[in-house]
Amino acid sequence: MENHLPEGRSQQHAGYFPVTGAHLYTVLHEVRDPVARVLLVGPFASERHNAYLPWVRWARYLAAENIEVLRYDYRGIGESTGAFEQMTFADWSQDVRLLYAWLADRAPHVPLLLHGVGVGAILAGRAFDEGLGDGLLLWSPPANANQALRATLMRWVGLEQIFKFGRDQKSASDYIRELEQGSSLEVDGYSWSAGLWRDSMRFTLPAALASEESAALAYKRPVRIVKLTSDAAPLAKGGRVGFDDLKDFSWLFAPNRDWIVAVTSQSSRGIAYA
């Protein structure tokens, strides 16, 4: 059995990528003569499951436009190996750098962009700040990872309360207090350690990525920042999870694809790609 799926002009290859102490599950949407490449840094932990279908469709949408895409599961999440509760934001940052290097090494050399959503936007943004990427696309970047974790926690608490009545119900602030006091908390099957919670507050989006204007001044490379509304659920908060992931996202995909095509054609003119 060959481990690839044909998808029009592209081929989908799933594989494992070795990193320290674990293997990352990766899916390469390979195209023959790509005009660009994009590394997708996806939704975090349980958000991965919510948003899996639109995320895969986004990758396929780009591949159909002759843009080669690599998506992956974070260390300790989904199909990747590793114990989630032992992972740190440093580990997940390393994942981005390693996969970026692998993708940048592929021939032919074409512009390579980073794209992240939620916590993935911070990871992509920090990698971009380190000098990686010919362009950066961010969907709903939080100011820090704690904002994203809080949003996930709020939703989890809301759903958990469906099964609780009266005094059995705990509020989000009760759980946050426990995390801040050093307890771990299992959210949607993932054990959040107190350390993860603490580190999430310090894991920030680079200041220059606060707006497209400040990013343009700081980096001299194209940056697009999109704040997703609840229409984009489950890629954004809101909506009806488990059902909204099946709807049509072309209204979101098309303008972002157009932006990638536009900036990569500019990059190709301005940068000598071997």
């Binding site: 799933a14 895969v56 989630f84």
Partner: protein
């Protein structure tokens, strides 16, 4: 990029009209770290199918852990994404729940099972599904000549609806969050219970007759079935909420005298079984059930396979969970 690591291998199933992506968890006594050659395992394999739109790892990656656990006991485990789901080909449909309710995945899941039987020389397949996945697993079991058993977590036997009316959702929120609401909710339950008593053993109007027919078809043959239940909203232990029809009791009776159904109630679980206690309880129940129904005579647990994995590479979680979270994906929320 590698196709196989440690006890896992990425596989693609074709010849189904669409190509399905899956993960194969090698049984513990078979060489691993490399893609498996066509082989003759001559034992039962466990095949996981998606729950609604969840990817094959399932909520909290619980399916990964269950598959690893099953493989450690010597049974090959396969997690596949059905058409249009996860990493598999095919178009996803906005009426996915209707498709599941009508058994729309039965044929492709049965064909996938047949391919696995041929490819790995299995003696048969146990279909594994959770919630909407349990519905798909049951339909697939009825459609497959390779089916030797079913593991069903939180199956439902009514026609689930994707959306609840907004008014009803608000009423539920009110009932949960206020004293008056709780009183009103209890009164509502008693009225439903009275109405249910008047109805006797007749099925509710929204029962999934087609699914119940498939259940009778497979369960009455004595097919081994493990059925795992988690506490429901306002449920009384294993029994349903006051006024709700007891489908589990009904389907066990429906199976007749030859039935081989094990019903287990996992008190520590939430609906998804993704919390640590729920996950571990499922592992234990499955281990006992597989050993009892499909004993392996040629299996000796060895440590060779473990050596292929890097330190800390398994996805086992450490630390105790604080609470059992609700499952956000459930088609049955507030049923």
């Amino acid at each position: 990029m590698r196709d196989a690591i440690g006890d896992r291998e990425l596989i693609v199933l074709d010849r189904l009209g669409v190509r399905l992506q899956g993960t194969y968890h090698h049984p513990a006594d078979r060489p691993s770290g490399e893609p498996a050659e066509p082989t003759n395992l001559d034992r039962i394999g466990v095949l996981f199918v998606n729950s609604l739109s969840m990817p094959r790892a399932a909520s909290g990656d619980s399916a990964v852990r269950w598959a690893e656990s099953i493989a450690r006991q010597g049974y090959p485990a396969f997690r596949i994404d059905l058409p249009g789901l996860g990493d598999s080909e095919g178009d996803s449909s906005t009426d996915l729940l209707d498709i599941v309710n009508a058994g729309g995945f039965a044929s492709v899941a049965a064909d996938a099972a047949n391919q696995l039987v041929e490819r790995f020389g299995l003696s048969g397949v146990v279909f594994f599904g959770h919630c909407a996945g349990a519905v798909s697993a049951l339909y697939a079991g009825a459609a497959s000549s390779d089916c030797r058993g079913l593991i069903l977590l939180e199956p439902y036997f009514h026609v689930a609806r994707a959306e609840r009316p907004r008014v009803r959702r608000r009423l539920s929120d009110w009932a949960r969050s206020s004293r008056m609401g709780r009183l009103a909710s209890n009164l509502y339950d008693r009225i439903r219970n009275f109405s249910s008593a008047l109805r006797g053993s007749a099925l509710p109007a929204n029962a999934n007759a087609q699914l119940l027919a498939r259940w009778k078809q497979v369960a009455s043959t004595g097919l081994p079935i493990l059925l795992l239940k988690a506490p429901g909203i306002k449920a009384q232990g294993a029994k349903p909420r006051l006024g709700e029809f007891d489908y589990i009791d009904h389907v066990v009776k429906l199976a007749g005298r030859k039935e081989s159904i094990a019903v287990e109630f996992v008190e520590s679980a939430d609906h998804s079984f993704a919390n640590r206690e729920g996950r571990e309880a499922v592992e234990q129940h499955i281990a006992g059930w597989l050993a009892a129904n499909f004993p392996l005579t040629d299996f000796e647990f060895g440590t060779e396979r473990i050596a292929h994995l890097g330190d800390g590479e398994n996805q086992g979680h450490s630390g105790k969970s604080q609470e059992a979270p609700a499952d956000r994906f459930c088609a049955l929320e507030g049923r």
